[in-house]
Subunit: 286 residues, 2 copies
């Protein structure tokens, strides 16, 4: 497995892989990998002859009040984990390599960034769209793999790829969960035993919504109340948001009649956890 | 010469040109071609095996007060002119092909868009950067050719290409002028005989600035005054702006010490004309 720090090096590598006729699969990450990331890499490996991942803690997607400097790092561990699932190359650039002096170009995806995590993290998706555009232009992948846990991020990137004619396929990989249903997250380690138990309420509330829809419930406000009530019954859980929008447009919706995204952010102790489920489709991924 | 209306068609064409090992040269236009455009196409033809131009009056670069519907069109004439200089294919999409329903992604180049024409036309460069990103992603050119007459536009696009790692070369082609020095423009036909004569003051004032710099003048404010005074001496000319900035950064500058862009917009009758010159470089293009 190769590790490249410069754009020139990764591009030379990609050029030879492409010249050899290999399909390029790409998984952008901010490092500190967990099982969810590895699942993306396994999917990439199944679909593409060459798998490249990036490890880059992107400063432009952190707000001024968010502590970029605190973001966890462990490159040695990341390298071992990536190698264990057959990744071919890691692109690990410096901030100066990605944003040299005088940098001033940004990509904005409007509307679908104005809801959910876009509300609580202004500027976040501008940073995501910009760095992902740069990474796509550098790596020129045939397919890029993102986890459903950040469903809004996947929608933003799909929209951007379509709107700007980027000519690659964005693949959404189902959320990887612990045996008891908790969505994988680097943040789960912050939970103590009681909080860890309480955190099951995220997945539990989404399952209740799913059961209600399957039983014929059409009224979005009733489904919404069901999710809110389920979480409210857990004393250690505090709701940041519970939202239901049409999928993939993320428009307000009042009656079931097509796919909807049920998305939630819940604070347990000091830890903000997110989860979501897509309902109203035949082949449900969650 | 081919004319394609859909993204799929032009991409299929480009793929076969590339498979045949040909370099792709690209000239984006809004149509109603003149000699300046043809010069870009000739340059492209000299450097690239396959030359593609686009003809698309891009709605997102017109302000709400600018009359998009009035923009002149003559496709038959454009086709003949393009063919006469050896263009291989024209991409002529509809607005719906470029901006389908739900479109919501935009590219912003900050700072260098906040001066000169960016001030009098808010949102203009956002539209330009967005449509050029789309066209570059569709055509995937090795080189793209733009005229120096819109020097700020060239700088914005060069900055965007570098910042977003687009991996193509932006070539700035010197302004094509009439025998008497007037920069070519579709708008020159609006000038009557007297106005046409008065319009020579644009190039004349730039030449005075050049002579002053060559004679050793270092003080930007004196060079600026010289240009303003030259234009002011022409009764039919009204200054929109005369600005001198560092080149290519477009930062304010007080003393000569590197390349500068002298840029002006002048209104003659009802017609707004622009021109510019880059001073303080060895090999001067104007």
């Amino acid at each position: 497995m190769y590790i490249f720090n410069t754009i020139q090096e990764i591009q030379d590598y990609i050029s030879s892989a492409r010249a050899a006729g290999r399909k390029i699969g790409f998984v952008p990450t901010m490092g500190y990998l967990h099982e969810g990331h590895l699942e993306l890499m396994r999917w990439a490996k199944q679909h593409c002859g060459t798998v490249v991942i990036s490890i880059f803690v992107n400063p432009t997607q952190f707000g001024p009040k968010e502590d970029l400097a605190q973001y966890p790092k462990d490159l040695d561990r990341d390298v071992q984990m990536a190698e264990s699932v057959g990744v071919d190359a890691i692109f690990h650039p410096s901030v100066a390599e990605m944003y040299p002096s005088g940098y001033c170009t940004y990509v904005d995806v409007e509307r679908i960034t104005e809801r959910l995590c876009g509300l609580s993290r202004p500027g976040h998706f501008r940073g995501v769209a910009t760095v992902v555009t740069k990474l796509f232009n550098i790596v020129k992948p045939d397919q890029a793999f993102f986890g459903q846990k950040d469903a809004q991020q996947v929608l933003v990137i799909k929209r951007m790829v379509a709107d700007l004619n980027m000519g690659l396929e964005v693949v959404m990989v189902p959320t990887v969960r612990e045996a008891d249903g908790l969505a994988m997250s680097s943040r789960n380690i912050y939970l103590n035993r009681e909080q860890r138990q309480a955190a099951l309420v995220l997945n539990k509330s989404l399952k209740k919504a799913k059961e209600a829809v399957e039983a014929g419930q059409m009224d979005i406000s009733i489904i919404h109340q069901l999710v809110v009530a389920t979480i409210a019954a857990e004393p250690l859980a505090e709701i940041d948001y519970v939202e239901i929008y049409s999928y993939p447009e993320l428009e307000p919706v009042i009656k079931m009649g097509g796919p909807v995204l049920v998305a939630l952010a819940v604070i347990i102790g000091q830890t903000r956890l997110i989860d979501n489920m897509i309902l109203g489709v035949e082949d449900q991924c969650s």
